[in-house]
C-alpha cells in the first residue's frame, strides 16, 4: 500500500454565514475574504504539517492545483512542492498535479517537474489532471469542448520533451515550437510515475490503462459512493485487456480523522468536518460542469459531476450521516482500520490519498490525528496486496545517495578549505 498525506489547503477563515451570503467558494469567491497577512501563517502551518507527515512514515505527501478556490489556496502546487523538497528527506512528493492544458507552453510542466525531481533526488510522483470545469473553463478560460484535445496535445509534448535526447520541432494545433529541448530533465527514467486524477470520464480510464498511469478518483463523498465509479474503471481495465489488475493502477482520496475513541473523534473533529462539507464545498452549480467539458459518452454513463451536491446539499448531513455514509472515515484507530480495509478491498486501490487536514482544523488536532494514523492504522494495512508488493510502476524511485539540503560548511570551515 502507498499512503499519501494530502493537504488541500483550505482557507480556514470563511465566515459562519458564508453559505448564505456567497454563491460559490470557487471561481467568483469574494476577494475580501482572503487576508494576505493571515495567509502567511496559514501557508507556513500547512507546509509544516506536510513536512511533519513526511517524517512519520507516510509514503508520500501530496499537493494539488486549484484556482480562485476557498478550499484550495494552491494555484501553484509546484511552489509548495519545491519548499517540501528541501525540508523533507525520503518521502515521495506527490504533485497531483499540474493541469497541463493550462500551461503555455506545456513544456513549462516538463521543466518544473524535472526541477522538482532533480532537487528532491527522484522523489516526484507527477499528476496530470484534465482539471475541473471550475479551474479549467471558468477560471482559466479554456473552451470546454476543446479542453480534452488540448490536454492530449500537452501530454504528448511533455512526454516527448522528457524522452527525446535531441532538440525537436513540435507542430501542434495549440503549440507551435521550433526548438523543444528541456534543460534540466528528470532523474527518474524514462519519466516520473504518473497519476491521473479523474472524476469518471471514460476517456480518462482508457488513457490511464493505455499509458500505464494510475487512475486516481479524488472524491469528497467517500468510498461507499465511489464503488460504482471505481468498478467502471476496473471493468474497463478488463475490457481493454490490461496485462494485470494491480491495485496500484488506482488511487482514492478519502477524508480520515483518527482519535483514541470514536466519541473523541466526533468531539475533536466534527466542527472541522462541518466546516469543510458546509462551507468549503459550497460551489455554485452553474460552474460545476461547463457544457462540452465532459464528453457525451461520459454523460451517458450517468456519472454526474461530483461537484453537483447530493439532493438537499451537504449542509443537511450530520457527523453521523457523513461517517456512516462513508464521506468521512473517522473514529478510533480500530474503527478507521476496519473501514479503510473495507475501502481498500472494496475499491481495489493501492494508493490512498489521506485527506487528514480537514477544513479549518488547527495544527494540533491535525498532528494528533496524523500521528495516530501513522502509528496505529497505517502499519496494519501495509501488506494488503502481497502479490503486487513488487509493482513499482506507479511510485517514485529516488536516487540511492541523496544530499541533505542546508548542509553547507560553516563559514570558518569554508574559509579554511578555500584557503588551502
Amino acid at each position: 500500500m502507498k499512503f499519501t498525506w494530502f493537504n488541500l489547503m483550505p482557507w480556514p477563515y470563511l465566515p459562519d454565514d458564508f453559505r448564505e451570503k456567497n454563491r460559490s467558494v470557487w471561481v467568483d469567491i469574494d476577494q475580501k475574504l482572503f487576508d494576505p497577512e493571515k495567509s502567511h501563517e496559514v501557508y507556513n502551518t500547512y507546509m509544516d504539517l506536510l513536512e511533519y507527515a513526511g517524517g512519520l512514515g507516510f509514503d508520500g505527501i501530496g499537493v494539488n492545483e486549484h484556482h480562485q478556490n476557498g478550499y484550495g489556496i494552491m494555484p501553484s502546487p509546484n511552489i509548495i512542492a519545491a519548499g517540501l523538497a528541501r525540508r523533507t528527506k525520503d518521502v515521495g512528493l506527490v504533485v497531483l498535479g499540474n493541469s497541463i492544458a493550462l500551461y503555455n507552453p506545456p513544456v513549462r510542466v516538463a521543466e518544473e517537474f524535472a526541477m522538482l525531481d532533480c532537487i528532491s533526488g527522484g522523489r516526484l510522483v507527477a499528476g496530470f489532471p484534465v482539471g475541473t470545469s471550475m479551474d479549467t473553463n471558468y477560471c482559466y478560460g479554456q473552451i470546454p469542448a476543446l479542453t480534452r484535445e488540448k490536454y492530449l496535445e500537452a501530454h504528448e509534448l511533455i512526454m516527448r520533451a522528457w524522452h527525446e535526447r535531441e532538440p525537436f520541432a513540435f507542430n501542434g494545433r495549440y503549440n507551435k515550437l521550433r526548438h523543444v529541448n528541456i534543460w534540466p530533465r528528470p532523474i527518474q527514467q524514462p519519466n516520473p510515475p504518473i497519476h491521473i486524477p479523474g472524476g469518471g470520464s471514460v476517456e480518462t480510464y482508457d488513457f490511464c490503462i493505455d499509458n500505464t498511469y494510475s487512475y486516481s478518483y479524488l472524491s469528497f463523498t467517500g468510498y461507499i459512493r465511489a464503488k460504482a465509479l471505481m468498478q467502471g474503471y476496473w471493468d474497463r481495465v478488463a475490457d481493454r485487456n490490461a496485462p494485470d489488475t494491480s491495485p496500484y493502477r488506482a488511487g482514492f482520496a478519502q477524508t480520515i480523522c483518527v482519535a483514541e475513541t470514536d466519541d473523541e473523534a466526533e468531539r475533536l473533529y466534527a466542527e472541522h468536518i462541518d466546516y469543510f462539507y458546509n462551507r468549503c464545498l459550497h460551489v455554485y452549480p452553474g460552474f460545476a460542469d461547463a457544457p462540452g467539458y465532459r464528453t457525451i459518452k461520459t454523460i451517458q454513463t450517468g456519472a454526474l459531476s461530483q461537484y453537483a451536491p447530493p439532493t438537499g446539499g451537504f449542509g443537511q448531513l450530520s457527523w453521523k450521516d457523513l461517517t456512516e455514509q462513508g464521506h468521512v472515515i473517522a473514529g478510533s484507530p480500530e474503527t478507521v482500520r476496519q473501514r479503510l480495509e473495507e475501502l481498500i478491498k472494496g475499491l481495489h486501490v493501492g494508493n490512498i490519498f489521506c485527506l487528514m487536514h480537514v477544513g479549518n482544523m488547527p495544527a494540533d488536532k491535525c498532528m494528533y490525528s496524523t500521528k495516530l494514523f501513522a502509528e496505529k492504522v497505517m502499519p496494519k494495512l501495509r501488506n494488503m496486496f502481497p502479490e503486487y508488493a513488487d509493482d513499482d510502476r506507479f511510485w517514485c524511485k529516488p536516487m540511492a545517495k541523496r544530499v541533505t539540503a542546508g548542509s553547507l560548511l560553516s563559514e570558518s570551515q569554508a574559509a579554511l578549505v578555500a584557503g588551502e
Binding site: 478560460g141 455554485y284 457544457p291
Partner: protein, 258 residues
C-alpha cells in the same frame, strides 16, 4: 418545415426547409431551432427558408473538426453552396447573427442582403454580456425574454422536468449544443468581428428587442456604427428571443430586404 440532410466537407448537415419565394438562409442562435419554430413558420409565408442546424444541434452529427470562428464561417459557406444557393438573404439570430456577420465580412461580394437579429460578436467593456454557460436553466427565462413568465412556460412546455431519463437527455443535448456554441462564445462571445465588420457591404437590417437583457440594445448602436448604412429596427416589449416574442414585427423588418 421539413427536416432534410445535405452533405458538406466536414459533416452531413441537417436543415429545415419550407415556404416559397426568395431564398433565405437562417442561422439559429445557441439555443438551436426545430421544425416547430414559430419564427421559421412565419418566415416561410414570405420566403423559401433554409435553416441549417449547426453540427451537434438537434439530431445532427457533431463537428469535431470545426473548432474556431473561421471554421464556423467557412463551414456555413460550405452549407450555402451545398444547398445550391447564390446570394441568399442571410439572416442570423444571436450566435447565428455572429456567424452571418462573419460570412458577410469574409465574402462581401457574395452577400447583398443581411439581417442580424441581436447578434453576438462584439464586446463592450462597460456592458459585459452575461455568461450563458454558467447560467442555470431556471435563470434563463429572465435573461432571454421580455416576459419571463410567459417565456418560462414556452421553454418548458411539454418537458418532464422531474424524469431522470429526460434530465439525462437534456444534459446530453446541452453538452452537444452548448459545447459546440462554446467554441465561439466561451468564455467571452467575441472573436475579433469588430476588426472585420468594415468589410460588410450588404444592405443590412439590425433587429433588436428593446428589453434584451442578454445582449443589451447598446450593442445595436455599436453594430450600426460599424456597418455602413445599416438600419436598426428596435422592437418594444421584446427580449433576446425577440423573434419568438414579436415574430410578426421581426419578419416585417426582414421583408425590407426583399
Amino acid at each position: 418545415m421539413e427536416l432534410k440532410t445535405v452533405q458538406t466537407h466536414h459533416v452531413p448537415v441537417r436543415y429545415l426547409e419550407g415556404g416559397s419565394g426568395q431564398p433565405l438562409v437562417f442561422l439559429h442562435g445557441a439555443g438551436g431551432t426545430t421544425a416547430e419554430d414559430p419564427f421559421l413558420a412565419k418566415l416561410a409565408e414570405s420566403f423559401h427558408v433554409y435553416a441549417p442546424l449547426i453540427p451537434g444541434y438537434g439530431d445532427s452529427e457533431e463537428g469535431p473538426t470545426i473548432r474556431d470562428m473561421l471554421d464556423f464561417t467557412l463551414h456555413s459557406w460550405d452549407v450555402v453552396k451545398a444547398l445550391g444557393l447564390k446570394d441568399p438573404i442571410l439572416v442570423g439570430h444571436s450566435m447565428g447573427g455572429m456567424i452571418a456577420a462573419e460570412m458577410a465580412a469574409i465574402a462581401p461580394n457574395d452577400v447583398s442582403r443581411l439581417a442580424l437579429i441581436c447578434p453576438a460578436g462584439l464586446w463592450l467593456e462597460d456592458h459585459p454580456i452575461a455568461d450563458i454557460f454558467s447560467t442555470l436553466p431556471f435563470e434563463m427565462p429572465a435573461l432571454l425574454f421580455h416576459d419571463a413568465v410567459a417565456g418560462a412556460a414556452q421553454m418548458t412546455a411539454g418537458l418532464a422536468l422531474d424524469d431522470p431519463a429526460f434530465l439525462q437527455a437534456y444534459l446530453v443535448t446541452n453538452a452537444r449544443q452548448l459545447g459546440m456554441a462554446g467554441k465561439i462564445l466561451f468564455p467571452i462571445p467575441e472573436r475579433g468581428l469588430a476588426e472585420r465588420l468594415y468589410r460588410v457591404s450588404a444592405k443590412t437590417i439590425l433587429v433588436w428587442g428593446d428589453s434584451d437583457k442578454l445582449i443589451p440594445p447598446v450593442y445595436a448602436q455599436a453594430f450600426k456604427g460599424m456597418i455602413a448604412g445599416a438600419q436598426l429596427v428596435s422592437i418594444p416589449e421584446a427580449g433576446h428571443l425577440v423573434h419568438w416574442e414579436k415574430t410578426d414585427a421581426c419578419v416585417e423588418a426582414i421583408k425590407r430586404l426583399a
